[in-house]
């Protein structure tokens, strides 16, 4: 008798696994927008989606993308997908798409004429695999900005720099005053800085040729040796002992005047705003480090993991449509500090730096993809390790770093 009931319990447990839980049109949305401004921005999305009669169930994951990405991907892999998720444009989700785990958004994209409206074209292109659209780009962020504290320079009796070369020239005087010329954060911030330095010193075209077209010869050429030497010199701007753990701490050093400048993406602008500083008066933002005024087009995209429930599927498509509606785009991007995906919206409330960015975006002829759009995560981690090493060891030779850099580029898988 005892065994019979055990067997029955076993059978019941097994059969439970076959009955999928029925969802209404609740969509769980995972993202890593947890800071004050980011949370306010995401609330705009939630409000707009709830207005369509569905329900946004917030699944925020605290920490950076490096923390959230593994969680998101392993949930999709483990057969427990969320309704929708934030990711960065690039190749993070390529393998998920190829494994057939994502929802095809081609019809929504066609109905909404995304290919005509959205700019720049590279955004939609990185959402497109095998001619089908798999994700919704919701905003644009760029990483090529140098932020300087004007007061630090005027106090030192120096004209605030117009570009990175001015900063290098001003460095000895700043150091004399006990001010770090350039603050830096640990980890991915180093890769961001070196990418920006390569763009500034080698030019946008050469940078894209190496990173995207894998021009190994160019990367190994004397021209690039010179670039690496210049980067080697730029190491002197950073005080290794003051490398911070988080990017916002490094920006904080600029805000409180302990450092003269920082190289960071446009999301750093939020920190200056919170500190009640005014662009152009208290601080300067120099796109492309003042030398190569080109902005890459990173940002955020939303993917919708495949769901067999037709109600959920319909809600996913509805949400994809909602995220790009003009009024939703404005409300979200003003709070996020990023640039909207469509040009046909009203952005009079934007600050100087955002306007500078919009101007470059709308008028610049050069297109600069973000590094995640050009290389796979594995190679980027390798480059990050290499460059972090380079920056913390003053005796490391630029030629050696160049040789290893070329090696990574050579072995990176084709995109």
């Amino acid at each position: 008798m005892k065994y019979k009931s055990m067997a029955a319990a076993f059978a019941a447990t097994v059969s439970m696994a076959f009955t999928g839980a029925a969802h209404a049109t609740d969509l769980e949305v995972t993202h890593w927008w947890t800071s004050g401004g980011e949370a306010a921005a995401v609330a705009e999305f939630a409000k707009a989606f709830d207005a369509t009669g569905n329900k946004w169930v917030d699944g925020a994951i605290a920490g950076s993308g490096d923390v959230a990405r593994p969680i998101i991907i392993s949930r999709i892999l483990g057969g427990n997908p969320m309704g929708a998720t934030q990711l960065n444009p690039g190749h993070d989700a390529d393998e998920l798409i190829k494994a057939g785990l994502m929802t095809d958004l081609t019809d929504v994209a066609k109905a909404g004429k995304w290919d005509e409206i959205l700019r720049p074209k590279s955004q939609l292109a990185s959402c497109t695999v095998d001619g089908k659209v798999w994700c919704v780009p919701v905003n644009l962020h760029s990483a090529q900005w140098m932020w300087t504290n004007r007061k630090v320079f005027t106090d030192a009796g120096i004209e605030p720099p117009k570009n990175i070369n001015d900063l290098i020239a001003a460095a000895p005087k700043l150091k004399e005053m006990g001010i770090q010329p350039l603050s830096l954060a640990q980890g991915w911030a180093v890769r961001l800085l070196v990418n920006d330095l390569i763009i500034a010193f080698a030019g946008v075209d050469n940078y894209v040729k190496v990173m995207k077209d894998r021009d190994v010869e160019l990367a190994a050429s004397p021209e690039f040796t010179k670039v690496f030497q210049q980067i080697g010199e730029a190491r002197a701007l950073v005080d290794v002992k003051q490398i911070t753990k988080q990017w916002n701490e490094a920006v904080g050093l600029v805000i409180n005047g302990k450092a003269a400048s920082n190289v960071m993406g446009d999301w750093a602008g939020g920190e200056f705003q919170v500190a009640k500083m005014v662009a152009g008066k208290d601080y300067d933002c120099l796109p492309g480090l003042g030398l190569a005024p080109a902005l890459d087009t990173g940002g955020d995209v939303f993917y919708f993991p495949l769901n067999k429930d037709p109600a959920v599927h319909a809600a996913q498509l509805k949400m994809a449509e909602t995220l790009l509606m003009p009024e939703v785009q404005v409300a979200f991007n003003l709070k996020k500090g990023s640039l909207p995906m469509r040009p046909d919206v009203d952005l009079s409330a934007a600050n100087d730096c955002m306007k500078k960015g919009l101007d470059i975006l709308d008028h610049s002829k050069v297109s600069l993809p973000s590094d995640r759009q050009m290389l796979d995560a594995d190679s980027l981690t390798q480059i990050g390790d290499l460059l972090t090493d380079f920056f913390s060891k003053p005796d490391m030779k630029p030629e050696d770093v160049q040789a290893k850099f070329v090696d990574v580029i050579k072995n990176a898988p084709k995109m």
């Binding site: 065994y3 593994p70 892999l77 483990g78 998920l96 290794v240 796979d376 594995d378 980027l380 913390s392």
Partner: protein
Amino acid sequence: MSSIELSQINRGAGPHFQPAFTKNVRIGIASLVVILALLAVTFDWPFAYIGVIQPFMLTAGLVAVSAIVDVPFRLFWPKLVMFATLLLAALSAWLAWYSGGAWISQEGADQVWKTVSTGLVGVIIGAGVWNAPYRNFSSKIASIPMMFIVLFAFIGCSLWTISYSFSDAKTFPLFNNFVGLKQYYRLFGADVWWTACKNAAIYLIFVTSIEFVLGFVIAVFMDQKIRAEGVFRTIYLYPFALSFIVTGHVWAWILSPEYGLEKSMRQLGWTSFSFDWLVNVDRSIYAVVIAAVWQGTGLVMALMLAGLRGIDDDIWKAARVDGIPKWRTYIQIVLPMMRPVLITTFVIVASGCVRVYDIVVALTDGGPGTSSKVPAQYVYQYLFQGGIGQGLAASTVMLLTSAVILTPWIYVEFVKNRQVR
């Protein structure tokens, strides 16, 4: 099990052969299982997940069955399981190798794998269920968790790690291409990996030796029948109650030149005082050692103290009668007698050193630059950021290194001693 018992079992019907179920119940259960298996395959249930889950579910099936199968079958199952595992491993590797070829598609390869693995599991489960309800049914059920952990966690996952380190898996744990030793060439060509290995060695040597010496000395002091021993023991043991993360953050404040020790010494008037190990590229790993020693010494002390208390009082009396000074008694008599405690302590401390991760993350995050990175950090970094093959190659090297260190000791402790006895 004696040989007499075995022969009875082999005949299949010993005197104590008592089925727990009647034949009808057995047929019922067996057919239920077969129906469930058929349903599962029809609805694609065990295969709805990608790559990584499949071997795990297979192991789960093998374990469940091996636990409930009965005596006649038990003599035969280790060989069957070994054979099945080997066959599946060979098949997986073979399919993985050729699935990129033209003559068999990815879907075709999947189908073969699916059919064969389902068949094998089906045979084993069917036989198991048929034979299960004889003796000791409840104890077999009870041992399922243990067997599952051993087969799945220790053996299964290690084998899986090693085999996937020969693949070029990126974001997904999928064995798409066999790349041989490529991941290892890359690993040993990476400066960061060597920095991490060097740091691990420094950490292991310094932490174990300092903790052993300090822990033993403190334990000896505590052993002098002092007053309020409980209070001191609690104080020394308290740091161990803190997690590595908390320890790391606390010491990050203490060692920070901007806010911590250096600043307060300077404010006290010693203006030339400098202690910048935390942010010094050549010293940062030693800063980690300081924090780790602070955290771990209490535990070593407690273990050593227990060892000291385990020494018979008669030994002490004999030493006193012979007029041996106290310090010599400790070092030349007591210490060698504490060998088992020392070995246990060493294994605990050293294994903690090999897997060190959280304290480094909290204290320095591998910095400045990459100067205090440890191997576990390297593994984590690649495993979860699109370089699974590389991360697994690194963890395989960690596993091998630990094995190389431990094997001679295991041999001496268990194999050789037994032979002598």
